[in-house]
């Protein structure tokens, strides 16, 4: 009897001592926030929309899809670079395969960015935050979504349209929508943003999308859809808003500390130095292994002679945009042309790389003026840009009319040199249906089908119902 009591006593003792409560197993993450209790308050949505803005860092990175369009065009090329070369050379050579790892990365980056936007749009609908705030956040997010889809539709054509966070199961049902439907969404998003967003002067946090940004982008979208009337109208509103003007000097656009100037319409914000979201256009565009300009050069978007020679004699924009080489450590001059718009020689160096401070302008006023010239056929808009560069006006004496006899060609030329290496050229050529003749003449193996990049192989392995672009 005693023994049994003892057994029971010990049994009880051990269970009491160590009979942990069930919450022994409920451990919350210590070094990460838990998504379950997020997306509730205004502070949460501030944090979430900041993260959505941060997707600009990948979508517009120097190795991003839009940056590679410079190599698809006649502006830039790639020499020896680190890493897997063939997949990176495939852009300049028009030899893209469906297994190209860069193309898949673009796909991932863009849809990941869209998730960060869509989750804000989705969660804020049911959140108890005030309506005015809700509207502002939605307008910000829809601007970004419109911008991203506009890039994507120009790269891939038909696209799976994702407008809310999807579960894995749901995602298998989303197939490619026709280009027209994509443009419908882009237009709706940007029209909403243009209506709700404040004027640039009312923006307190520089870098947030403004009404003018949405209108400018919408003008570009209309122009791409060949709707010149609508484009002219909305771009004229940007001009009339008196929010923007050309800076007197082209070179001052590229001074590291000149950020968010009057010419800037939508600008990606960076901050140099350790621990900050620094920019790396300069290191990425510097020649590989130069050892004097940067610690490590990416060699991305090295400038073609063709672009260099496009500049008219005396055009100050050439030397503000392109360097013809550098002098190495022993004083030998290495001739190689590379972009210097985002040069930052004062950047803090940490861990063997420059943490640069430059911003990146996605939209600027010169672009608006040149688009207006395109939409209206009025050379005055073009000439404002030429005047700033100190060059003779189109139609005036000294204009190289023999080379650019029509206004269309004059705009094409002007956009190329004014916006050189700012990720516009290839989209411009496609918009004006000039890509095939221009690029073929320069020896590119381009075909009508190659003006779209392939749907990555892995996407179609996962969901064979997603169609491939013709020619791949």
């Amino acid at each position: 009897m005693n023994k049994i009591k003892r057994i029971i006593a010990i049994g009880c003792l051990s269970v009491m001592a160590f009979g942990c409560k069930e919450d022994f197993l409920e451990l919350a993450p210590i070094s990460n926030s838990n998504a379950n209790n997020f997306y509730k308050t205004r502070e949460d949505f501030d944090l979430a929309s900041n993260a959505a803005y941060a997707t600009l860092y990948t979508v517009y990175a120097p190795e991003s899809s839009v940056s590679y369009t410079e190599q698809l065009s006649d502006n830039a090329t790639l020499y020896n670079v680190a890493g897997i070369q063939a997949d990176r050379w495939a852009f300049k050579d028009y030899s893209l395969r469906t297994s190209n790892v860069e193309v898949y990365r673009f796909w991932q980056e863009n849809y990941r960015a869209l998730f960060s936007i869509n989750i804000v749009l989705d969660k804020i609908e049911t959140a108890s935050v005030d309506e005015a705030y809700k509207e502002q956040v939605k307008a910000q997010m829809r601007f970004l979504r419109g911008l991203y889809y506009f890039n994507m539709v120009q790269l891939w054509g038909d696209l799976p349209l994702v407008t809310k966070p999807l579960s894995a199961e749901e995602s298998y049902k989303v197939l490619r929508s026709p280009v027209a439907d994509v443009y419908k969404l882009i237009t709706e998003d940007l029209e909403y943003a243009a209506e709700k967003l404040p004027l640039a002067s009312a923006i307190t946090a520089p870098g947030k999308a403004s009404k003018g940004a949405a209108q400018t982008l919408l003008g570009k979208v209309y122009l791409t859809q060949k709707n010149k009337t609508a484009a002219a109208q909305i771009l004229q509103e940007v001009v009339n808003s008196k929010q923007y003007e050309l800076l007197p000097s082209y070179a001052s656009l590229w001074v590291v500390t000149n950020k968010n100037t009057k010419e800037s319409i939508f600008e990606i914000q960076y901050k140099g130095g350790a621990g900050n979201p620094y920019s790396n256009y300069w290191t990425a565009f510097a020649p590989t292994e130069n050892f004097v300009l940067t610690q490590f050069g990416g060699g991305m978007n090295q400038v073609t002679d063709d672009l260099y020679n496009e500049y008219e004699p005396g055009d100050p924009r050439r030397d503000a945009s392109i360097s013809t080489g550098y002098t190495n450590k022993v004083g030998t001059f290495i001739p190689i042309k590379f972009p210097i718009k985002w040069m930052d020689r004062t950047a803090q160096v940490v861990g063997g790389r420059e943490l640069s401070n430059n911003n990146f302008m996605v939209l600027r006023y010169a672009d608006v003026l040149l688009m207006l010239a395109e939409a209206t056929g009025d050379a005055n808009f073009l000439n404002q840009v030429r005047t700033r560069a100190g060059l003779p006006a189109f139609g005036a004496a000294g204009y190289p009319t023999d080379k650019y006899p029509t206004l269309e060609l004059a705009i094409e030329h002007e956009r190329r040199v004014e916006l050189a290496l700012e990720f516009h050229r290839w989209f411009d050529l496609k918009r004006t249906d000039r890509a095939l003749p221009v690029l073929t003449a320069k020896g590119k193996a381009v075909t009508p089908q190659k003006l779209l990049i392939p749907i990555p192989e892995i996407v179609r392995q996962q969901n064979p119902a997603i169609a491939q672009n013709e020619g791949y």
Binding site: K3, R6, I7, I10, G11, S14, F18, G19, C20, F24, E26, L27, A28, P29, I30, S31, S33, N34, A35, N36, D46, L47, N50, A51, Y53, A54, T55, Y79, N80, I84, V101, W107, Q108, Y111, R112, F115, S116, I119, A168, S171, Y172, A205, P206, N260, Q269, K271, A274, N276, P277, F291, Q295, V330, P335, V349, V350, G351, G352, I458, V459, Q461
Partner: protein, 1048 residues
């Protein structure tokens, strides 16, 4: 006062001495000889002890002993492998004894988790290795000494640096995404991903490996990868024994990679540039001068005008490797009485590494004590400390010293004329080569001498337990285990690294710290009783375990000079800290039943709850049953003299795998900051898809085994077959990127491992001259049965190498193009399907699908790492005190993906190449060896793609170990205070037979998948799926050790 004390002490001391003498003087001398009853030979080393005392001795090489004994003494004779015998001395002065060999050692005790069993009663699949098997081997991690010894346990040394743990795979690979390391149980403390280097092998009594799911089921959700149980030593009742040993070792890299010398490299460089230049446009000639060529096609003048100046150049392997010594000193004291048993041990290992400036130093201290307080209560404490200081470079592959050294160009000298390391030195004449961005040098010294580094790690492990015999046959045991592990890493990189690195980097300092505390409490009740012919052992238990990990790091730059290297001298420009926890509650039960000690039945069940799993699936059950039948004890076999042992075993069980990130089911937020104007703005974004249904992988395994002892146990065989299926595979299932994510952690998928294991032990010759052969063979077939939605294959690509896992195939097939040699001329190209860019000298890419075009659809399975079978063979000979043993180990039928082909097999930015690459196609009249295609700096086709050109035969045979030892005859030792003395010579990795281009086919730079405790999610590639992929590993050196061991 002081004097008095001294006198007292002295008196006491003498008294003690006298009393010892007195004790001896009282007895009488007896002597005798101990022999083996079966073979009649003398048995040296038999322990002879007066029962109930610590008075005893050991027989000499002739089996003779002498001992003073009191009246009416009883002697206990014991020896490993023989049944102990007690003999009453009576009036005799000579006591000769013939010992019976232990009947197949069936009474040997095997540790099985939460208890022990005799070998006779084991019904699952358990491999047991005692200290004697590895005592002379020179390894810091005990499992390294078991490689090739245990069927079904594949132990491979991925990296040869000292202190690197091997990869252990028990019965194949049962998971794609979750971790695949076995569970380690050290003196009862189950640890995931434990570093066994923290346990001094000399302190280990035995290592048990639970191979089948039924044995491992008692470890529930952590048993599916098998369990390695480590039990440390405790003193034996009897005389205190003092053991001391010293080993001196030499390590050497004996198998170097055959690389191009400077002359071959210059030709290779020139041809790669000319091939690309002439292909870049019409009318371009190889003879064109640099002045007409764009930068990337230019060739240094020195290469054209005076290549002889480089001579043979530098083989960077000769620079980075050296013959390295090691010293290992051990001292242990153990012993005990009926009431107290103890072991104190200390050891110091000081090992230089073959890699320049690398080393490994370890101090290990241990005390194990068990005290019986009363008839009912015993308590014990095991406490061990290990401190390790090391510097280990070169194990990370790709951009680590070893790989970089192999890629570096041979044309450069070890030191330039200024005494600096490289051609990037602006003041050196070598700087003329810096203009060429495709000449490469990562000088080994720039990483080993211009960077100061040290890891320090401290491990303290303790166990305290209490055993209480409540009533006869019923025992309660409670224990608390703790493991505290701290590491600290310091590094300082000199400015410019003396120009030996690819770029002149700024000075940089790093400090990392980590902390881990794991505690466990266990309470078990064991009931053990015989009822007539029925025997029952029952166990119930309850355990709770928790672990917390913390990590922090700080980085600084902007150091004014290299004089002060602590971070205070620079500017801190980075840092972080992280913490993470997991916890687990478990209930367990086991019943062992036997009838007539002949029929055995075991059932176990464990219920585990874990913080790592979803709220809907916190708890899981892991049951098992097994049965054994000792047929040889049946009457119908009693008279069959050929067979003296025959046992059949069958088992079925379920075990789990929980090795996923700590917060796997939870949707986590990660920082994604933006900046507005000049103001940094915090941002938070979802980093993974939540899954509250996440649960463990479950492996069910069926095992059949047979143990046979023949010819008086001269020949022992064990054979086992098993089939295991893993369900609910934890997969980072690729999901469409439209979700915003590439993968989601889900329980989906099924994988099977089937295999056969065979072990043979044969005592070929017995008597004065003994010859024993051990042989084992393992076959495992792995097959994926089901994957995620639509069974979509899982494809991982890391630095070109692609592995594909698909249903119906083994895990991780290599997937790429097939290269069928080199096109000799245009006619050959025209005659076969080819990529449009193809020119003579390019690889022949096979049109696998036969559609007449070379497209991505022509990629196919081009190999798999998993071998068809592995095997080990050990022969041991002994004659008197001399023992000789050698061991062969082999693996047959697997393939390796040599990722260094990317650098050393194909032109890549001017890196050096394998010597055999020099046989590349040069022209139609000089077609080379038909395997190596022409180099070009601007490849247009599929040259750089993953192909059969990268895949090599992984089969090998290795002379793994050769050992000679000599026990000094006891008559030499009688004058010395030494009981026994042995000297031994041990050689590891003596020779490798393999065709592999790199160092060793066991190498891989992708270790088994593990999740760092502070990892929040793991959407990347689980490294364990890159099976057998080698991106430039640290060679496994040959180690020759000379040692001596003394017992006092």
């Amino acid at each position: 006062m002081k004097n008095k004390l001294l006198r007292l002490t002295t008196t006491l001391f003498f008294f003690t001495l006298l009393s010892v003498d007195f004790a001896f003087a009282q007895g009488r001398a007896i002597s005798g000889k101990v022999t083996s009853k079966e073979e009649g030979g003398a048995l040296p080393g038999v322990s002879v002890l007066v029962k109930g005392t610590t008075n005893g001795t050991i027989t000499n090489t002739d089996g003779n002993y002498q001992l003073n004994v009191p009246d009416n003494a009883t002697l206990v004779f014991s020896f490993i492998g023989f049944t102990s015998q007690e003999v009453a001395v009576g009036n005799r002065t000579t006591v000769d004894v013939a010992l019976l060999p232990d009947a197949k050692a069936l009474s040997e005790v095997v540790v099985i988790g939460y208890g022990t069993q005799t070998k006779r009663a084991v019904t699952g699949s358990v491999a047991s290795v005692g200290y004697d098997k590895f005592k002379d081997r020179s390894f810091s991690n005990v499992t390294q000494a078991l490689a090739g010894e245990l069927p079904g346990v594949n132990i491979t040394q991925a990296q040869g640096a000292p202190g690197q743990s091997p990869i252990i795979r028990i019965r194949g690979i049962s998971s794609i995404t979750a971790g695949t390391n076995p569970l380690y149980v050290v003196d009862g403390l189950p640890m995931e991903n434990f570093n066994l280097n923290n346990i001094n092998p000399q302190d280990i009594e035995s290592v048990e490996v639970l191979k089948d799911a039924s044995s491992a089921a008692i470890y529930g959700s952590r048993g599916a990868n098998g369990v390695v149980i480590i039990t440390t030593k405790l003193g034996k009742v009897g005389k205190t024994s003092i053991n001391a040993s010293y080993e001196f070792g030499q390590q050497e890299v004996t198998r170097k990679i055959d690389l191009m010398d400077a002359q071959q490299f210059v030709n290779y460089y020139v041809d790669a540039h000319n091939n690309a230049w002439t292909a870049s446009g019409p009318g371009r000639l190889a003879s064109d001068p640099n002045s007409v060529r764009p930068t990337q096609f230019r060739i240094p003048e020195d290469f054209v005008t005076n290549p002889q100046q480089f001579g043979k150049g530098t083989d960077w392997q000769d620079v980075m490797y050296r013959t390295a010594p090691s010293h290992n000193t051990q001292l242990s004291v153990s012993g005990g009485t009926d009431k107290t048993q103890f072991l104190f041990s200390g050891a110091y290992l000081n090992q230089e590494a073959v890699l320049d400036r690398n080393y490994y130093k370890r101090l290990s201290l241990r005390t194990n004590i068990k005290q019986t307080i009363s008839e009912k209560i015993a308590i014990g404490v095991n406490l061990a400390f290990t401190g390790i200081y090391d510097r280990t470079d070169g194990t990370q592959g790709k951009s680590d010293v070893v790989s970089l050294g192999v890629q570096s160009d041979p044309i450069f000298p070890v030191y330039n004329e200024l005494g600096n390391l490289g051609f990037k030195d602006p003041n050196s004449t070598w700087y003329r080569f810096a203009t060429y961005t495709d000449l490469q040098l990562w000088h080994p010294y720039s990483l080993t001498r211009e960077i100061a580094k040290q890891n320090k790690s401290f491990n303290t492990m303790g166990t305290a337990y209490l055993e209480y015999n409540i009533i006869k046959d019923l025992k309660f045991r409670t224990s608390i285990n703790g493991n505290l592990y701290n590491t600290r890493y310091n590094a300082y990189q000199n400015k410019d690294m003396k120009f030996g690195y690819s770029s002149a980097l700024a000075a940089r300092g790093d400090v990392n710290n980590s902390f881990m505390l794991n505690w466990l409490t266990e309470n078990t009740l064991t009931y053990d009783r015989h009822f007539g012919s029925h025997g029952v052992t029952a166990l119930v238990g309850y355990t709770a375990q928790k672990q917390r990990d913390e990590y922090s790091s700080v980085t600084a730059g902007n150091f004014p000079n290299d004089l002060v290297q602590t971070l205070n001298a620079g500017t801190v420009n980075g840092g972080t800290s992280l913490a993470s926890e997991w916890s687990m509650l478990s209930y367990l039960a086991r019943v062992n039943y036997n009838f007539l000690d002949r029929y055995f039945l075991t059932g176990t069940i464990r219920r585990d709850g874990s913080s790592r799993f979803g709220t809907n699936t916190k708890w899981g059950y892991f049951p098992s049953v097994s049965a054994g039948w000792l047929v040889s004890d049946e009457n119908f076999l009693k008279n069959v003299t050929l067979i003296n042992n025959l046992k059949l075993r069958a088992s079925y069980g379920v075990a789990g795998n929980n090795q996923i990130p700590n917060y796997g089911p939870i949707g986590l937020l990660g920082n994604q900051n933006y900046v507005y104007g000049n103001n940094l703005a915090n941002g938070l974004n979802v980093t993974n898809i939540a899954n509250q249904d996440l649960k463990w992988e479950k492996t069910t395994q069926l095992n059949f085994g047979v143990d046979v002892g023949l010819l008086s146990n001269r020949l022992n065989l064990t054979a086992e077959v098993y089939s295991s299926t893993t369900n609910d595979l934890l997969l980072f299932v690729p999901v469409p990127d439209l979700t915003g994510f590439s993968t989601q952690l889900t329980n989906i998928g099924k994988m099977r491992n089937r295999g056969f294991e065979f072990g043979l032990n044969s005592r070929n010759l017995v008597g004065n001259f003994n010859w024993t052969t051990d042989f084992n063979l393992s076959v495992n077939r792995n097959k994926v049965l089901q994957l995620g939605p639509g069974n979509a294959p899982i494809v991982y690509t890391d630095f070109v190498v692609t592995v594909k896992t698909e249903v119906g195939q083994p895990l991780s097939n290599y997937y790429g193009y097939v290269f069928d040699g080199v096109y000799k001329n245009q006619a050959e190209i025209d005659a076969s399907p080819h990529d449009p860019t193809t020119t003579p000298g390019d690889p022949i890419v096979r049109d696998v699908n036969g559609d007449g075009k070379i497209t991505e659809a022509d990629r196919t399975t081009i190999g798999n790492y998993q071998p068809n079978f592995t095997s080990g063979l050990t022969n041991s000979f002994s004659y008197k005190g001399v023992e000789l043993s050698f061991m062969l180990q082999g693996s047959f039928g697997g393939e390796i993906a040599n990722q260094l082909i990317r650098y050393n097999g194909i032109w890549n930015g001017g890196r050096n190449a394998y010597a055999e690459v020099a046989n590349y196609w040069k022209s139609e009249s000089e077609p080379g060896d038909g395997k190596h295609f022409k180099p070009t700096v601007a490849p247009k086709g599929l040259q750089e793609k993953f192909s059969s050109y990268w895949v090599e035969d992984g089969s090998f045979v290795r002379i793994k170990n050769v050992r000679v030892s000599y026990a000094l005859p006891s008559n030499l030792l009688t004058r010395l205070p030494v009981k026994s003395a042995r000297i031994f010579l041990n050689a590891e990795n003596v020779h490798l037979f393999s065709k592999y281009l790199n160092y060793d086919p066991e190498n891989t730079t992708y270790p088994a998948t593990t999740y760092s405790p502070t990892a929040t999610s793991a959407s990347g590639i689980p490294s364990g799926t890159m099976l057998g992929v080698d991106y430039g590993s640290y060679p496994v050196p040959r180690i020759v050790t000379l040692g001596a061991r003394f017992e006092f």
